[in-house]
Symmetry: C2
């Protein structure tokens, strides 16, 4: 068996996410699998580092797949050029590299970085309308920084999870949350060892509510402690969210 690791960029606007529960059509995973299946002539399954929701974008999603030795006809360069030739223009393969035979893009992921982009300008930038959330009201950055500090660390994040019936552990570690201003854009970057369903979008919505003084930074401690989704903020819409990178180190 040969195992390959792909890094991918995609504009999630047109897609029903990386892969939906059940057999939702028009997912990123489906586009990639059907192309690989066509190239190799037998069904190829890929494992993404994780699902991204409908409308969420990726700057550096990763996915792995395995090919039996006797069918291993394509070099990494072949795969890079063939896939970018046949994929739709809103999905690009940034790189393909050989990986250890037992490599798995999801099971071996050590940390991920997500970014959420907020357009604070007036009016909203037309070229970022699909790639940012527009928030016209003034945001209190100091309060948001303080709330972000309270989210950082090892916690049970069930209060920031959209799935009420989590059977598996909802313990995760957030290594850091950074807020930076780039022109009129406020970018919140989250680095952690894993994220629950909708967790980044709920954390973002909560940070925005803190920035608007609808919540206080201290409320974060309560949400973490009570593990109650209804105490947290709104789920920020998908178009502002980017999966930036996945690390295996």
């Amino acid at each position: 068996m040969s195992t390959y690791l792909m890094t991918l960029q995609y504009d999630g606007t047109r897609y029903n996410g990386w892969q939906k529960q059940g057999n939702t059509p028009n997912t990123i995973q489906e586009k990639l699998e059907s192309l690989l299946t066509r190239l190799y002539g037998f069904p190829v399954e890929i494992a993404g580092s994780g699902r991204t929701d409908a409308g969420v974008h990726a700057l550096g999603q990763t996915a792995s797949f395995r090919i039996p030795d006797k069918a291993d006809h394509y070099s990494c360069e072949d795969l890079f050029s063939q896939m970018n030739l046949y994929l739709p223009l809103d999905i690009r393969v940034l790189s393909v590299i050989p990986a250890g035979e037992r490599f798995h893009a999801r099971l071996l992921a050590k940390s991920k970085i997500y970014e959420y982009r907020i357009d604070t300008g007036s009016p909203a930038d037309v070229f970022h309308r699909r790639y940012a959330l527009h928030v016209q009201e003034r945001l209190d950055m100091a309060a948001m920084e303080e709330a972000a500090r309270r989210l950082t660390g090892a916690h049970d994040f069930l209060g920031f999870c959209a799935n009420k019936h989590m059977k598996k552990s909802s313990l995760r570690t957030i290594y850091h949350i950074e807020l930076r201003q780039e022109g009129v854009f406020l970018i919140i970057s989250f680095c952690g060892n894993g994220f629950l369903y909708n967790m980044v979008r709920i954390m973002t919505g909560t940070l925005i509510e803190v920035g608007l003084h609808q919540k206080s930074p201290e409320d974060i401690d309560q949400i973490l402690w009570q593990r109650d989704r209804s105490l947290a903020g709104f789920t920020a819409p998908p178009q502002g969210l980017f999966l930036v990178s996945v690390s295996y180190q």
Copy 2:
């Protein structure tokens, strides 16, 4: 009469340009005029600084319109907020200011800046697929700079005009052309006192052909001298072109 000057940003992807010859539907001008007509309750006509082609974008298009004093119900702030409330999200009003009664956005324009964006990365950036031309082959920047130098100045640009039957003067002055690299993007910026039909796109196509060594910088002098469109390069596609600003000074 009160005269207003608007500055506009738009994503041209969905539109048939600023205004087409005849009554093509779905133009930027039509969207703005029908909204102003609705707001004021009588037909309002606007004068853009010039037409942009189908698919061309604007960071700072300008347009003026006149309102009889007895109907002048809206302040500039009202117009800014009402227009941004009702316009589609791919057209935004950046500012509305009062102008002298005899102001006219096209007739009084002194100079314009256009930018053409080329994505030289591999693969193409998915988030710029509608906002740049992808050129994968290496471009000789020094040759392009030399060709740009030869285009600069006062010339008869008929060889760079898509309209064969120009009756008016095809003399224009280009004040400067700047090539700059921003990451994998090569941006060509053109500042001039006016541009003929498709002139920026034909100059861009010609500069790209010089960068690919399909033409030499010296060919520019021949195209200008012969005034023959067939000697110039291809018409670069609209999605890479941005009207950046219009100056009245």
